[in-house]
């Protein structure tokens, strides 16, 4: 049944999707900064910086929306994640801090560009790695299991380490890095007019697509033993799986054939479908196998007010976002 809790959960899903498509690609850009090679490496880095600079902060706020709506709408889920996943979340936060600040210091700060560029690039790899790991560990059900054990005789490692320091979450972590890098490469082919750079990122995109496949295969194999819910769900959601495959093939073919705009769209679709595939697979659970959306939901008054707030926010936000993107798509005025 679809009620207010499901709708709010849907909003979180949409915001997460937006974050992955925008903020995720910004992290992917950092990955390519790290792997910038060849004669054009300086220009590659410049392109990455130019396309991220005006928008990364706005992109980043999607994550804050996810967090804020989660703790308002589903406080017990937030509380459980914050407790059991304390360590990976903290490391991810450190990555976020370093990525953001290194990026601005590179443009404005002291000590020249190289050191900050390095810090930016490394943090851009670590953060999505942890992001994927966190999602992976939620999917396995280990988070909810560990939360049950907190008051018992469980050891520190059983509660705070093992739920995420495992093979499947790690595989999802690498999968996320590869996916974001793929996304960034396809975006960058559209963002530049320079044919050489475009070709550089086309090749990189194709390489990342390969990495995505390897990581996905590993994750799927591990999924059968480690993440019962995802494995079952994924089989159950064949339709989504098929759509994901179509989008993936379309993205890679378009990139191969140099239809960059199509490639970008298809890549975005592919990434979104993967995310929704996971979320649908674990529906109605927020944190499987115990905490459902309904169980975790805040009282109805809060949800109603939150819904009103979200609508008001969206009315301000969506036109603003549109305006921003339009501003940076148009050429500079003389």
């Amino acid at each position: 049944m679809i009620g207010l809790p499901e709708i709010i959960a849907g909003v979180i899903a949409v915001a997460l999707n937006a974050y992955v498509l925008t903020g995720g690609a910004d992290f992917g850009g950092g990955v390519w900064d790290l792997f910038a090679t060849g004669r054009r490496r300086g220009r590659q880095r410049e392109l990455i910086a130019d396309s991220i600079a005006p928008i990364w902060e706005a992109n980043h706020v999607w994550l804050i929306v996810v967090v804020v709506v989660l703790f308002t709408g589903f406080p017990s889920a937030f509380s459980m994640l914050g407790t059991v996943l304390h360590i990976p979340l903290t490391i991810m936060l450190i990555g976020i801090v370093l990525r953001g600040s290194a990026f601005v210091f590179r443009s404005y700060g002291p000590y020249g560009r190289t050191h900050w560029g390095r810090a930016f690039a490394i943090a851009s790899v670590i953060t999505p790695l942890l992001f994927g790991t966190i999602i992976g560990s939620i999917a396995t059900g280990a988070v909810a299991d560990a939360a049950d054990k907190i008051d018992g005789a469980a050891t520190f490692s059983e509660v705070f380490v093992r739920p995420w320091a495992a093979a499947f979450p790690a595989a999802v972590g690498f999968f996320a890095v590869a996916l974001f890098a793929f996304l960034a490469a396809t975006y960058l082919t559209v963002d530049t007019q320079d044919e050489e750079l475009r070709e550089d990122f086309r090749i990189r995109g194709l390489a990342a697509a390969g990495a995505v496949f390897v990581a996905a295969a590993v994750a799927l194999v591990l999924a059968h033993s480690a993440a019962p819910r995802v494995a079952i769900g994924v089989v159950g959601a064949l339709l989504i799986q098929a759509a994901t495959a179509v989008a993936a093939i379309a993205a890679i073919t378009a990139l191969w054939l140099r239809h960059y705009r199509v490639a970008r769209l298809a890549a975005a679709a592919q990434v979104s479908l993967i995310l929704w595939g996971w979320m649908i697979a674990q529906y109605p659970y927020l944190i499987p196998p115990t905490l459902t959306i309904r169980d975790a939901a805040a009282p109805a008054v809060t949800l109603r007010l939150l819904a009103v707030g979200l609508v008001v926010g969206a009315v301000i936000l969506l036109p603003s976002l549109h305006y921003m993107l339009r501003t940076f798509k148009t050429k500079r005025r003389a």
Binding site: F78, T83, I94, S101, P110, V301, T302, R333
Partner: protein
């Protein structure tokens, strides 16, 4: 958490006031055509970009830390205070979007659109402070909930937002942001002016003072209103602020060792003979740590008084059509006060937060019951301390080089 907040609050203040300065400079440029103002607007925009980014990342840390450090607090309070936090989220979003437009849009949008973008940044910065301080005010004086055995039976998030501390705290916080940042910027330029009297720095200082002076003059009035609200709704905190042990009628006020008879009763209750309850009127297990609260309050009041006095001096100088920039002792006083606002802000937050202890939600939940069961919290503490110290150092160096660039 306290550490992250103590760090974040500085950037938040700058994020609230700096956009206003930069729009003001741009407006002066468009009005007068004086290119110095344009240079100023661009320079300040650069500074804002650095500080905003650091503010944004430290704010992100905070929103996660609420769950990382205080999971039980969030489980209980999330449904009540989530709404202002969610609204705050939208304020950030608007701020981030239009800051992007402002910083990177000089050549892309019309002059009116550009100024408006700057104004929107300034307004949404103030709005985010409004929302988040509402949360804090609710923690001090919770409203809109009925409690039974440590659980909320009914909640009314809108009533919670209108709790008795909201108004005073929000006004005081916003004034603090404008006063601290305005005077800090003015002070930096005043320091340069002492050595090198250029038109650029004169203009910069004057624009900063147009915001700093009114805010600093209003701040003691607003602080007095806050103190009266505290006297009424948080008597234990008031007693700790004044380190008043025994309940007294006609209680005196102590300031840097000077005792002003009956002043406390007068200030707190508008009646020189009013009874002020001392700490001994309350059970010991609800006493906050007295020394830090008392000292922090003294520090805030002393700095606030100094800031207001120097600003009054500067205002009088200007009203008598004298140039502040030609007045070396006034410049020196302004330069000395550069960090004063930020120090007063930290002190004020210590009063509010430590003065609320042992409660995390006044009278409802104890801090000790809210903390995460995860052991070894010292490790992330140390890591974040180091990161923040590093960030603070780099920001300071960047800003210093920005100020020095034009001499």
């Amino acid at each position: 958490m306290a550490l992250s907040l103590g760090f974040h609050i500085i950037f938040a203040e700058i994020g609230i006031a700096m956009p206003l300065l930069m729009v003001l400079a741009e407006w002066r440029w468009r009005r007068t055509g004086d290119a110095i103002y344009l240079q100023l607007a661009r320079r300040w925009a650069k500074g804002t970009a650095i500080l905003f980014a650091v503010g944004a990342v430290s704010g992100t840390v905070l929103s996660f830390e609420l769950g990382l450090l205080w999971p039980s607090f969030m489980r209980l309070a999330g449904p009540v205070i989530g709404i202002p936090f969610a609204l705050e989220g939208f304020a950030f979003f608007t701020e981030a979007i239009f800051l992007g437009v402002y910083l990177y849009g000089w050549e892309r949008v019309s002059s009116r659109a550009h100024m408006s973008a700057g104004l929107i940044v300034a307004v949404s910065g103030a709005a985010s402070a409004l929302f988040v301080v509402i949360v804090n005010a609710w923690m001090n004086t919770p409203a809109g909930v009925t409690v039974d055995a440590g659980r909320f039976v009914t909640i009314d998030p809108l009533a919670a937002m209108r709790n008795p501390s909201t108004f005073q705290q929000v006004v005081h916080m916003l004034l603090a942001a404008y006063a601290s940042t305005g005077l800090a910027v003015a002070g930096l330029h005043a320091a340069v002016l002492l050595r090198n009297n250029t038109l650029f720095h004169r203009r910069a200082m004057m624009v900063a003072l147009t915001i700093g002076i009114p805010a600093a003059l209003l701040q003691p009035i607003s602080g007095d209103t806050s103190a009266r609200a505290v006297a009424r709704w948080q008597p234990v905190k008031l007693a700790a602020m004044e380190s008043l042990l025994d309940t007294q009628r006609g209680a005196p006020l102590h300031l840097v060792g000077i005792e002003i008879p009956r002043a406390l009763s007068l200030l707190a209750f508008r009646d020189p003979d009013a009874e002020v309850r001392g700490l001994s009127a309350f059970p010991r297990d609800v006493w906050p740590p007295i020394a830090p609260v008392h000292l922090a309050f003294q520090l805030m009041v002393i700095l606030g008084t100094l800031m207001a006095l120097v600003c009054a001096w500067a205002a009088v100088t200007t009203l008598r059509r004298r140039e502040i920039a030609d007045h070396r002792s006034l410049l020196a006083a302004l330069a000395l006060l550069t960090p004063a606002g930020f120090i007063a802000t930290e002190a004020g937050w210590v009063v509010t937060e430590v003065g609320r202890q042992p409660w995390i939600i006044g009278g409802i939940m104890r801090t000790g019951d809210a903390v995460t069961p995860m052991p070894g919290l010292a490790v992330p503490m140390i890591v974040f301390t180091l990161i923040y110290l590093g960030l603070a150092a780099v920001v300071a160096i960047s800003i210093a080089s920005l100020v020095r660039e034009t001499t």
